[in-house]
Amino acid sequence: MKIVVCVKQVPDTASEKALRSEDSTLDRDAVDAVMNEMDEFAVEEALQLAERTDGEVTVLLMGPDQGTETIRKALSMGAHKGIHVVDDALHGSDAVATSAVLAAALASEEGAGGAYDLIILGSEASDARTSLVPAMLAERLGLPQLTFAQKVDTDGANVTVERLTDYGHDVVTSGLPAVVSVVEKINEPRYPSFKGIMAAKKKPVSTLDLGDLGLDAAEVGAAGAWSKVEDFAVRPPRTTGELVKDEGDGGKQLVSFLASRKLV
């Protein structure tokens, strides 16, 4: 079984964020970059499925140069090869453009002309948190989508997924190829072993730019974005209101506060 995992490099949530005043995009130089947490679960699931079916796992990442570190991490976990789409013109891409680039990379020669059985993504990137890319990618590829999976089963012809929904859970099924996105409940991602880290250094990573994908710079990045940030403001940090120590009447004091705000 041939599997592609889409992984995104994101700023570490624990670090302070800044937006560039020039173009209102995230100042990615100012923060530590890590693999999107949810994507570790996607890589793990891909590896487990590949181990069961004697398959191959390709990691696909769109992002600046330092994204190589995230691809290497996936390779050191056990993925077989990487595709890195990097181009200055991609800076500021919206989800519509991101999905177009990922779809084009899958269709390219390095992407084996789209000959994949499964495309696995995280269900959400921790920086923008839009959860748009999996559904958009499925739409572009004309493939079934099985999103928010907490369990994935496949017999090589079909895939069945147990998925979390807003109101409970579903079991859904489709033929292959298909697009799957996973939630963190699905597995326990492995840590790269020393051997894995050494092996990763020799695994192939192809680097593609927009020209290689036959895409026009005007269609992607901030220039091609179909939504535009007009303005942004740093929200004033919340400040501590009143703090009281419970001397046996904390609950009563609290209810007086709630009443003063008309909340009870």
Binding site: V96, T130, Q145, F148
Partner: protein, 320 residues
């Protein structure tokens, strides 16, 4: 006047509250036209009309329930063709966002997701989004195609504004992809009788300080006295004390209620990411140095097992 399409979120014609919020917001940019997919359009129409829908485009077919997302995208796409709206508004639920995502790609439209506010602008609707755990407020606009915008629950108070709400059939033809993902079964979560976490006006959450599944009833009792939903920190969820569906935070749900009460939660950045836009925040924690106190409107330094039951009792007694 220009028309705005609003996708209705409903259960067999019982309209969910976020749809009423959407209709209220839609009126700022045009005349709302509701799109009702599935059973119960006639039941829904009176509510939709009461909140300003001039027309209700209705379609029902087994595909809507039997297959994932794509049949609804087909229908909405055809509604866009029929109406020529100035914008399409969709509730920011997991399903709503996926419908919007695929629709935007099909229409060649830009998409703004998780808007918390929307206003009319010279070049089309301007949406407010809250970014990076609410550290930034961003105003954005769609520059290509018919704007597709998903709006978060609790972004506006629903306001009635009587309109015709006339039901009109919407003819839908399904494409090849419509039957791509078949639904084998749906298992609704066991009903707790409490409001939906992301839609609730009040949320009471418990963390590691609750110290065991058997103690969560102190959180639930307070929630019930306030008509609130129950949330939990990841620590409480990972310990198996409360279901994952109730997790609030970066890898859980984002909530933005009128009132958020955190009990026995330290206030880690990943937890804050899911609750920081709440209008009023209250915390009970026995550690005066807990970071959650940095963002509260009111905090009680004390033992939650003393404070919560007293609070519950006081709330009950005020109800008379």
């Amino acid at each position: 006047m220009a028309e705005v399409l609003v996708l209705v979120d409903h259960v067999d014609g019982a309209v969910r509250k976020p749809t009423l919020e959407l209709l209220t917001i839609a009126r700022r940019i045009g005349e709302p036209v509701a799109v009702h997919l599935g059973a119960g359009a006639d039941t829904a129409a009176s509510t939709l009309g009461e909140y300003g829908a001039t027309r209700v485009l209705a379609a029902d077919a087994p595909e809507f329930g039997g297959y994932l997302v794509v049949p609804k995208v087909d229908a909405l796409e055809q509604a866009v063709e029929a109406v020529g709206p100035v914008a399409v508004l969709v509730p920011s639920s997991a399903e709503g966002k996926e419908i919007a995502a695929r629709l935007a790609v099909r229409l060649g439209s830009g998409l703004i997701t998780d808007a918390v506010d929307l206003e009319a602008g010279d070049d089309g609707p301007v949406a407010t989004q809250s970014a990076f755990a609410a550290a930034f407020t961003v105003k954005s606009r769609v520059t290509n195609g018919v704007p597709v915008i998903t709006v978060k629950p609790n972004s506006a108070a629903p306001e009635a504004a009587s309109a015709a709400g006339a039901v009109e059939p919407l003819e839908v033809s399904f494409g090849d992809a419509a039957k791509g993902t078949k639904v084998v079964s749906r298992t609704p979560r066991e009903s707790t009788g409490r409001p939906e976490l992301t839609e609730a006006a009040i949320v009471v959450s418990g963390g590691r300080g609750v110290n065991g599944a058997e103690n969560f009833h102190v959180v639930e009792s307070l929630a019930d006295s306030l008509g609130a939903a129950v949330g939990a920190s990841r620590a409480a969820v990972d310990a198996g004390w409360y279901p994952h569906t109730n997790q609030v935070g970066q890898t859980g749900k984002t909530v933005s209620p009128q009132l958020y009460i955190a009990a026995g939660i330290s206030g880690a950045i990943q937890h804050r990411a899911g609750m920081q836009t709440s209008k009023t925040i209250v915390a009970i924690n026995k550690d005066a140095e807990a970071p959650i106190f940095d963002l509260v409107d009111y905090g009680v330094v004390g033992d939650l097992f003393q404070v919560l039951p007293q609070l519950t009792e006081e709330v009950e007694s005020r109800k008379g």
